[in-house]
């Protein structure tokens, strides 16, 4: 019967996938980290980015009577926190980010700060304005401020889809890479290669098994952000789900490639770090990728994590439809198919 024949055809893939799922759920630590990591990350975010925070700048001033007037002026100004820091400790405090700027009292005063740090440049402007106004400067005019604090355009809203994408990358890459190396070390790969198992079934199974846990992995931090930060979720569940699935398939396929020849866990983790750590920085998870020079933008835009982060942000925050994401999805598709094909080709079964 044709239906029986079809069942037979898919049976090995089904059994291999079930084996991976069983292996995973019977490993309590793996389960624990998969679901706890996004929650810990989200809580950390909640602490670092309170829902309605005016950004304050921290300014260090030497203690003592001669600096009291300046300290008082700054303490009275909006968005400034003053810390008393002895002179011999001031450079350390600046370096550690304890304060953004040091004010040395004098006439005129000296601002000590690192211009490479954005917070320090901001602190310079705020402090300068407060001190000059106290010294009697009059403003030619006062602009009206229109403060944007609408959910959906804050830093935290921008951050959450990035964190979710990062989680998808890490879980796919490491779980699949390590399981592959483990099966090789235990000579299980060789035994499977001696059976009539179709090799692409073996490589496909862990990638499919990964999808089973993707739902909670993505939903937990999304719901958390929705409750804790009232982050809007503008995209539909299906669009978000499809972007997450495509991301998991892509990094699953890359995990296979990283694990395709490694004979030790150390070799595999080296490769996976080599690939993923630069993307933590380059792909715009924590700060915008547009901070990097134009010359490297084409390279950054075709990185797997950049494509996933961009697609995830647009679908979650803007409610973009999948058809408008075709460039990102094309990048993701390429990073799925090509590594899988290479892995299938170079995979070491011994």
């Amino acid at each position: 019967m044709p239906s029986d024949a079809r069942r037979d055809t898919y049976r090995p893939l089904v059994e291999l996938t079930l084996a991976r799922l069983r292996e995973f759920v019977r490993e309590p630590e793996a389960l624990f980290w998969t679901f706890l990591f996004p929650i810990i990350m989200s809580v950390a975010m909640a602490i670092a980015f309170p829902a309605s925070a005016g950004q304050t700048v921290r300014v260090g001033v030497s203690p003592g009577a001669e600096t009291a007037a300046v300290r008082q002026t700054l303490a009275g100004a909006r968005d400034i926190v003053v810390r008393e820091i002895p002179e011999d400790d001031q450079l350390r405090a600046l370096r550690d980010g304890e304060v953004h700027l040091i004010v040395a009292v004098g006439s005129p005063p000296i601002y000590r700060f690192d211009p490479m740090r954005e917070e320090s440049r901001l602190a310079r402007l705020v402090v300068d304005e407060a001190l000059k106004r106290a010294a009697g400067r009059t403003e030619p005019w006062q602009a009206k401020e229109d403060l944007i604090e609408i959910p959906g355009s804050r830093y935290v809203d921008w951050l959450i889809p990035g964190i979710i994408s990062l989680g998808i990358m890490n879980n796919s890459l490491w779980s699949i890479g390590f399981m592959t190396v483990q099966a090789r070390l235990r000579k299980l790969l060789k035994r499977l290669a001696a059976s009539p198992m179709r090799r692409h079934d073996f490589l496909l199974a862990p990638v499919i098994a990964r999808l089973a846990f993707l739902g909670p992995e993505v939903a937990v931090p999304l719901v958390f952000a929705w409750i804790a930060f009232s982050m809007p979720i503008r995209g539909g569940a299906i669009s978000i789900g499809l972007v997450a699935i495509s991301g998991a398939l892509m990094f699953g396929s890359l995990g296979l490639l990283m694990g395709s020849r490694a004979r030790t866990f150390e070799a595999a983790s080296g490769l996976m770090n080599l690939m993923s750590v630069p993307m933590w920085v380059l792909s715009g998870v924590f700060f915008s990728a547009s901070n990097f020079p134009d010359a490297v933008q084409p390279f950054i835009q075709v990185l797997p994590l950049t494509a996933l982060v961009d697609a995830m942000r647009r679908v979650v925050l803007e409610g973009a439809v999948l058809t408008s994401l075709w460039t990102e999805l094309a990048v993701i598709g390429t990073w799925t198919i090509v590594p899988f094909a290479i892995a299938l080709k170079i995979f070491k079964w011994r």
Partner: protein, 248 residues
């Protein structure tokens, strides 16, 4: 006579080391053939070439009348393989492991039949990690038998097992033979070769030194020098190579 395995002038080198040096032998359908030799004699390399896991540097191999390059897909359906040191997934049960391996074969035994064959019915829901060495080895044999193979390859099937487990494994193989199956095994246990094998090839340094039925090999030693001591394959090997079979 129809051949299960035809192996002609087999060669395999690893760098400067010659692992298999012009080995030729045939295995007939329905017999149990043993490759006997010390560690490092080239037994595992030979059997892995026959299993299609390694490519030979030279020589010709035919398994069940097929060649690996041409007929791999069909051939794998008809072979059972047990390798040295395979560790199945710790946290799968016996039954789940069997179901996985059974799914690779178009035809074959049911899970119930396999469990009964290797006497693991009582352990079907146990995780692999909880099994004893003998039980693990029986599971490995059951996986090899899942597709009802015509030819079974066993690489040192009883190494490290206690006497009772070895006996159990021998019984399984005897039943497989009685059902018409062919077996090619490697071993460095003399008693195992004497009990199981119809014919034995003695291999050393990748070469075939002698080939005969165990009884014939022992008889070729001539009259035992000490009357109370009956000749064994151990004696045969020592007289031919001047070495003990199990020396490293």
């Amino acid at each position: 006579m129809e051949l299960a395995v035809r192996c002609q002038n087999l060669q395999k080198r690893y760098g400067d080391v010659v692992a298999v040096d012009g080995l030729s032998f045939d295995v007939r359908r329905g017999e149990c053939y043993g490759l006997l030799g010390p560690n490092g004699a080239g037994k595992t390399t030979t059997i892995e070439i026959l299993e299609g896991l390694l490519a030979p540097d030279g020589g010709e191999v035919e398994v069940l009348g097929c060649r690996w390059k041409v007929d791999e897909r069909q051939l794998r359906q008809r072979l059972g393989v047990q390798l040295q040191e395979t560790q199945f997934t710790d946290k799968l049960t016996v039954e789940e492991t069997l179901r996985l391996f059974r799914s690779f074969y178009h035809d074959g035994k049911t899970i119930e039949e396999l469990l009964a064959l290797v006497e693991l019915e009582g352990k079907r829901r146990s995780w692999v990690v909880k099994l004893s060495g003998g039980q693990k080895q029986r599971l490995s044999i059951a996986c090899a038998l899942a597709g009802d193979p015509d030819l079974l390859f066993l690489d040192e099937p009883t190494t490290g097992l206690d006497p009772q487990s070895r006996r159990q494994l021998w019984n399984i193989l005897t039943r497989f033979r009685e059902a018409g199956g062919t077996v090619l095994l490697t071993t460095h246990y003399m008693d195992e070769a004497e009990t199981l094998c119809d014919r034995v090839a003695i291999v050393d340094h990748g070469r075939l030194i002698a080939e005969d039925a165990p009884k014939g090999l022992i008889a070729s030693l001539g009259a035992p020098k000490v009357v109370v001591h009956q000749g064994t394959l151990e004696d045969v090997f020592m007289s031919m190579t001047g070495r003990h079979l199990r020396e490293e």
